[in-house]
């Protein structure tokens, strides 16, 4: 394959894995947030800040997340298998869990968005050119509101792993992309949910950019037999913990009135 002077050859998985191990070893223990500066994921090189984040107290604008309600989200949007043309191909599954903040308080009636590849590992996206079939009955995007105790619930199919061009023979572990809001603007989270026992997790520079094992484990759902449905769907449980709130619950209740 022809290479220009500015395009280095793709690194091998072995050298990426070595780089991951070295950086994780150098990172001080206890850092449970994702590193922004993580060279094994090559696209971070020019896209991570090099100056320190400035810590400051949130002002009122940042103490209120946007509010969503039944005027925003239709209940059918939580079922990604619904399609007028027919059923999608793949393992039908239910994914459910509870969203709490850093103090363990449920995040009530808040928006959860989900998007994912189909069972063959292909997205309905014009820039996804992975030579795997699109599924005419699967779009791969859904949303729902959490209930009064912070629970969300989606019905979908299990996505496939897919290749990417980060390094030679690079494969993303199967994952669901999640977007979550808390009660405060400061609690915003976009992340990915993974599946238990996936051998690709150990090789993935995106997942491994979380250097602490306990924090990585948080992103892996658990198979949950109580969520599985007789002759219909397997079940997965995945809970989410957002950062802590800055305003007290009392201040909140006043503002809810």
């Amino acid at each position: 394959m022809a290479m220009t002077a500015t395009t280095p050859p793709l690194a091998s998985q072995a050298s990426i894995s070595e780089e991951i191990e070295r950086i994780q070893h150098e990172t001080k223990p206890g850092q449970t947030s994702t590193r922004l500066d993580f060279s094994p994921y090559r696209s971070t090189l020019l896209r991570h800040p090099v100056k320190e984040l400035r810590t400051l107290d949130p002002e009122e604008v940042e103490l209120y997340a946007p509010v969503f309600g039944h005027s925003d989200v239709d209940p059918t949007e939580a079922d990604l298998t619904l399609h007028p043309g027919g059923e999608p191909i793949g393992e039908r599954m239910v994914v459910t869990g509870r969203v709490v903040d850093g103090d363990g308080r449920p995040v009530r009636r808040q928006l959860v968005e989900l998007w994912q590849a189909n069972a063959a590992g292909r997205y309905v996206h014009k820039r996804d050119d992975h030579p795997a079939p699109l599924d005419p009955h699967f779009h791969g995007a859904g949303r729902c509101l959490t209930d009064d105790d912070g629970w969300y619930r989606f019905t979908t199919i299990k996505p496939g792993p897919y290749p990417w061009r980060n390094h030679h023979n690079a494969w993303r572990p199967a994952h669901l992309h999640f977007s979550l809001f808390g009660r405060e603007f400061t609690q915003r989270l976009v992340t990915q949910m993974y599946f238990p026992g996936d051998p690709l997790l150990a090789l993935d520079p995106i997942y491994q950019a979380i250097t602490e094992q306990a924090a990585r484990d948080r992103l892996v759902a658990a198979y949950d037999h109580d969520t599985s449905q007789h002759e219909w769907a397997t079940g997965y449980r995945w809970d989410v913990v957002l950062t802590g709130a800055h305003a007290t619950p009392l201040e909140r209740e006043d503002s809810d009135a």
Binding site: L36, V67, F68, Y123, H177, A215
Partner: protein, 186 residues
């Protein structure tokens, strides 16, 4: 409950466009309506190249300095919700149509709170886009920043009241990105 490990962020990736942006997302008020302005700019990477796969969300007060806490951002129905979402285009540009926010209390300057996402950005970043004006020199946070850093947070206003600010993910003129105290628990 401090022993709860916070769920870490992961990149929004390259394939969010069919899922997260939505019709009306960037239009907090209808374009052309009374008091409507444009808030726009380009997102750049550390080499000065535009970032065509980024997404911004903004949260703001209204023109009277009140922060709306009302639903309706996804299916807008004429209610100002103070929240919007816009993906960057093929040349890294973002644009919102909104109203200029007023300060929420005396002594602080008016700004848009911003969350930034992108492929290659492993976790979301927070920043602020301030409106230009004389109040800026009294704002305690802005005063705490050196001149060249402060400049990265202040929009330019044209004669029509439209605002413009570029965001830079990395480098000499890197945007000031923010952390909030409770982010440190994790």
């Amino acid at each position: 409950m401090r022993d709860l490990v916070t769920t870490a962020g992961q990149t929004v990736g390259p394939f969010f466009h069919y899922a997260l942006p939505y019709d009306g997302g960037p239009h907090l008020v209808p374009p052309g309506s009374a008091g409507a302005i444009r808030l726009a700019g380009t997102v750049y990477d550390g080499a000065g190249a535009p970032v065509p796969d980024a997404m911004l969300e903004i949260r703001q007060a209204d023109a009277a300095g009140r922060v709306p806490v009302v639903e309706g951002s996804l299916r807008r129905d004429g209610v100002f919700t103070g929240w919007g979402r816009a993906a960057t285009d093929a040349v890294g540009r973002y644009a919102f149509t909104t109203v200029a926010p007023a300060p929420t209390r005396p002594g602080v300057a008016a700004y848009f709170a911003v969350t930034l996402f992108a492929r290659g950005l492993l976790d979301r970043l927070f920043t602020r886009i301030y409106l230009p004006g004389p109040e800026l020199s009294d704002d305690p946070f802005l005063r705490s920043l050196p001149d060249d850093r402060r400049r990265t947070l202040v929009a330019e206003r044209d004669v029509d009241g439209n605002l413009r600010l570029d965001l830079r993910l990395q480098g000499e003129q890197e945007t000031v990105f923010l952390a909030f105290p409770r982010h440190r628990d994790r």
